[in-house]
Amino acid sequence: MAPTRDELHWMYRYMVISRRFEETIAEAYFEGKTPVFNMANGTIPGEMHLSDGQEPVAVGVCAHLKPTDVVTATHRPHHQAIAKGVDLDKMAAEIFGKKTGLSGGRGGHMHLFDANANFACSGIIAQGMGPAVGAALSRKMQGKDGVAVAFLGEGAVNQGAWHEAMNMAAVWKLPFVCVIEDNAWGISVPKDAATAIANNADRAAAYGIPGHRIEGNDPYKIYEVAGEAIARARAGEGPTLIEVETYRLAGHFMGDAEAYRPEGEKDALFAKDPIPAMRARMLEDGSASEAELDRIEAEAAERVAAAIKFARESEEPAPEDALTAVFA
C-alpha cells in the first residue's frame, strides 16, 4: 500500500527534522574539540554516531507505528528515536548530558530511553533483539495490541544474539519485525568481508518467516514493505525480516577519517541523498508543493533549534546524582 499524501508529508517532515538535528549536533559536537580532537572535550563529550542518510528507514517503518508500539534501536539511534516520537527537547538534553535529559544525563546518546514513546536503544551490536522480542511476547501474552520493531545494522546479523532472538520470535510467532539497515559498512569492514551472503533477507528462510530486501534507500518502498510486515504482526501472523539498503553519509562516529572508503564513494552517496530525492519526487508526483515543502523544512529547523536551545540552557546534573536511580 502506497503512503497517503499526509503520510508522505509526515515522512518528509521527520526526515528533515532528523537531518537538521544531526547537522546541529555535529556543529555542537566539534565545539571545544578543535584544533585538537579529543573526544572527552567539548560541549558534547563521548562518541557520536550520526544517522545522516538513513532517515528513510526510520520514517518508512515508524509511519506505521503507534506510540504504544515498541522500538529498540542501536548506537546510531537518533533518526529512529525522532521518528518514533521521542521527546526531542529531552533527547537533545540527554545528548548534551543535562539534568533535563531523558535520563538526567545517565545514558547519553547511545542510551536513550523514553517510556512514553516506548523507545530504547543500546550500544552493543544486536543487543536490542532480546528486549524487542520480549516486548512482543508481552503484548501477545497480554492480548494487547502492539508490535515490537528492532532496528539493527547489517553487521548485527552475525551476532549470536540476533539468531537466537529471530528464532525465538519465529517459533513463538510473535508480533515482531526486524529491520536491518544495510549501510554497507561495519565501522571500516565492508559487508561482503563480514557476511557470507549478500542478501540478509535470505536468512528469513532459516526461521520460516517472510524476508524482504529493499534497494535504493527508497522511503516509498520501505513504507510499503514495512506496512505489510507490521500489519502481518498485528494480525498475529508472526515476525518478518526486512533488510533495507541505506546510506551512511557520515563516518561511523564523529572524528572517523573514513580512509577505508573507496575513492568517490562519499560523492556518489551524497548524489543519492534521500532528502533532496524525496523532495524532488514529491514535487514530481504532485504530493506536495514547493511552498509546503519549504514550510516543512522551516518548521523542522525551528523545532530542532528549540530543542538544542533547551538542551544548551538546561542545567548540568548534580555530580552526586550519579549515585541515584540504580534500582527502581
Partner: protein, 338 residues
Amino acid sequence: MNKPNERKLTIARAMAEATAQEMRIDPGVFVMGEDVGQLGGIYGNTRGLIEEFGSERIRDTPISETAFIGAAVGAAQDGMRPIAELMFVDFFGVCFDAIYNLMAKNIYFSGGNFKVPMVLMTSTGGGYSDGGQHSQCLYGSFAHLPGMKVVQPSNAYDAKGLMTAAIRDDSPVVYMFHKSLQGMGWLGTEKAATVHVPEEQYVVEIGKAKIAREGKDVTIVGLGMGVHNALKAADRLAEQGVSAEVVDLVSLVPLDRETIRASVAKTGRLIVVDEDYMSYGVTGEIIASVTEHNISALKAAPKRIAYPDVPIPFARGMEQFCLPNPEKIVAAWGEMAA
C-alpha cells in the same frame, strides 16, 4: 525450628509454591527457561505449575539464554513480571551481556523511568562431581556489578519468602539457589534446608541478614550452603565450649553490613565461609565491611574459608579437598584462638 505435624517443604517446592501463589494474583507473572514446562525445571522449581498455568505462562524456551533473558528484560519493561531460569549459573558466559548490560543497567540508563521487575533464578554450587562448568557459585561476580539484587536462601522458609519478594520487586533480582539444598534426591541434599513453610504468602525482606544461631565468641558469616557448614561447625565448637554466632547473609545485594558489624562487635572474631572463589569475592567484601568501619572491632585476624582460586575439578577427592566444610571452619577457629 521444626515442630511435629508442621508442613515441611524442600526449597524447590517452596520456590514453586511462592511462584504459583503470585501467579494466581498477578497475571503479569510468568516463568520461562529451559525445561521449566513439562519437566518442571531440572531442580523442580516449577514442578506442577504447567498443569495449573499452562504452557504460555510456564514457557519452555529454545536453548538461547541471550534471547530469553534479553526477552525477559523487554517483557519486564513492558509491564510483565517474568521469572527467567538460567539452568546453571555457569552458563552465564553465553548470556552475560543480557544480564549485566541490559537487565542490570536499564533502570539507571533510563534515569529510573523504566522498571525492570524480573527475577533471574539460577542454580549454584558443586560437591557432586559435575565438573568445572556445572558446579560454580559465581555470586560474587554478579554482586560485584551494580544494578542487580542478589539473594541466596539457605532454607525453604527463606526460599519462599525471598521468591515472593523477588517477584514483587521492581528491580531485577538474581535468585540463586544451591543445588545441594534443593531437596532433589538425585543431587544429594542437605536435610536441614527442608523446614516448615507456612502455606500463606509472606515476604522475606531482600537486604536483611539473619542470625541463624546466637553466640558470643566468634561470628561465622556465610550464605546458602555455607550457613549449613557454619551451623555444623558451631555444634562442634560448642562441644569445645566455644559459642559461635552464625550469620546467614540471605542477600548479597543489598548487603546487610549492619547485622555483620553488630555481631562482630559482640564476638570480636570473624570467620567468613564461601563456596565462591576466594580472591576478589564475598569473603574479602565481608571482612572489609567490618574493618573499614572499625578496625579495632576484631580481637584476632579474620579468617576466610572459600573455594581456592582454581577451576573446579571433577575427581571426588580433589573437589572435596577444595570445598568449604565444617572441619575447615573448626580448624580456622583453632588457628584464631591459638
